[in-house]
Amino acid sequence: MRVEVHAERCIGSGVCALVAPDVFDQRDDDGVVVLLAEHPADEHHESAYEAAARCPAAVIDIHEAG
């Protein structure tokens, strides 16, 4: 799995850091997404998918391969 974020559209909702805190963090000064794990460990795949599905600004893309 490879995770990609498009931070330019991020609204800093915190949904990704809520559901997948091992994969996503947020910048302190504006809440914008920080990708902690471009290739998350297997046990975090499900939460990474949930974060991508729930991101209000559709900022997160997940690539199966990679």
Partner: protein
């Protein structure tokens, strides 16, 4: 289908809204037929605007997720509330809920560190727990029956937001009155403006004072951070953000707390599950937002000719997305009308979706989770003090929920050491 079809005169059917006759937890019953047969239909809204009503989960999510096609410019509640914008009303300085694109993003990213950064939220957890426990200690010394809305839910949410903004205790009734006027649909635009004026004057003084002498509170930090940005925020913009946090932050969450408590008391099996396993509180909070959230729907304005689920809509048309209906759609959960605090309900639209998704959602989750993890344990004998049928629910408001929750109990047990 009679309630939602055009009559012989060609008049539009009315927007289905919560009413006393309906189940107080769910969307009006018309929505089941709308989702099945008329997923996009023109309706007449209470404030006089006509709008396309969108009722299916996938379509509601689509509209909210395409802000370039569906603008916030008219104001999200202008279909049900006066004094809330409207197409012909200019967007005020700092009125970010009615802005789109980069203009809106500038405000969201300035508020995010205070209310939606998860590191910050996790730091606030002990404070919120302490506020919940203190208010339950107050209740423990009050002989029941007690109204849990005015004597528990509102004091808790008021204390949380007032602590964040550092509003002295004596000044808090000011923003309670303003929020009540804002959320009561029956008011005129002039009444709303009159009720808000003292609050805006108060917040303006607060911004001026803290600009001169910043403290360790949300307003001071927003001022300090603003000066480090490319385009610092004006005093009016800072007042606007502070007012949004104050007004949106306390009555919506207080109503959800009291609505949620009533819903759980009417679903005793779910309440027992929660009492047995307080670790379910976070999940229960999410499920209650899905089950109860945003009864009046949200308004958008079409920016260019397009389609919603095959229905052509024109630039300038209004669209109302029925959040409650979407959250009950069988496409999201086959048993969507059932309250199930154990389900994975995170894909709901109870906080909205898209760039305008609720800015205070993490704070709401934090408060609701603390309440749901604490109240069933500390008040094991909690019950309604009147028959359920006598509980009255708000119908003329942007924020739904019970008018009052008369409750009784045998005993309130002390807080856990770790909770304090």
């Amino acid at each position: 289908m009679t309630a939602v079809s055009e009559d012989e005169t060609g008049a539009l059917p009315p927007l289905p809204l919560p009413g006393e006759r309906n189940c107080p937890f769910g969307p009006p019953p018309e929505y089941e037929d709308l989702r099945a047969g008329h997923p996009v239909i023109k309706v007449a809204c209470p404030t006089g605007v006509d709008a396309w009503l969108v009722s299916r989960y996938a379509d509601v999510r689509y509209v909210l997720g395409e802000p370039e096609l569906f603008s916030n410019r008219a104001g999200v509640a202008a279909h049900i509330l006066l004094g809330f914008g409207g197409r012909d009303v200019p967007v005020g300085e700092g009125e970010f809920p009615r802005m789109d694109g980069a203009e809106h993003l500038r405000f969201r990213r300035h508020m995010a560190p205070e209310v939606s950064n998860m590191k910050r939220i996790n730091q606030l957890r002990p404070l919120v727990q302490k506020i919940v426990d203190r208010q339950l200690d107050v209740l423990a010394n009050t002989p029941p029956p007690v109204d849990l809305y005015s004597a528990f839910a509102r004091p808790v949410t008021t204390a949380v937001i007032a602590e964040l903004l550092d509003v002295p205790e004596a000044d808090r009734p000011l923003f309670q009155r303003a929020a009540e006027a804002l959320n009561a649909g029956a008011s005129s635009a002039e009444d709303v403006a009159a009720a808000l004026r003292p609050l805006f004057e108060y917040l303006y003084m607060m911004v001026v004072t803290r600009r001169a002498d910043p403290g360790d509170d949300v307003i001071s930090r927003m001022i300090v951070r603003s000066d480090q940005t490319d385009r610092p925020f004006t005093d009016t913009e800072l007042v606007s953000m502070s007012a949004a946090l104050l007004l949106a932050g306390y009555d919506t969450t207080a109503s959800l707390i009291s609505h949620g408590i009533v819903a759980l008391l009417e679903h005793p099996q779910e309440l027992r599950r929660l009492r047995a396993d307080p670790a379910l509180a976070g999940n229960a909070a999410e499920e209650l937002v899905r089950y109860l959230g945003v009864g009046g729907g949200l308004l958008r304005e079409v920016t260019r000719d397009t389609e919603i689920a095959g229905q052509p809509v024109k630039a300038g048309d209004f669209v109302v997305v029925a959040i409650q209906s979407a959250n009950r759609d069988g496409a999201l959960h086959p048993d969507g009308d059932r309250l199930d605090i154990g389900r994975a309900s995170g894909a709901h639209l109870g906080f909205g979706h898209g760039p305008h998704q609720c800015v205070g959602q993490q704070l709401a989750r934090l408060e609701l989770t603390a309440v749901l993890g604490t109240v069933p344990r500390r008040i094991p004998t909690l019950r309604l003090a009147v028959p359920f049928e006598e509980i009255r629910f708000k119908t003329n408001s942007a924020v739904l929920g019970p008018v009052a929750v008369p409750a009784a109990w045998d005993e309130i047990v002390p807080a856990l050491e770790t909770e304090g």
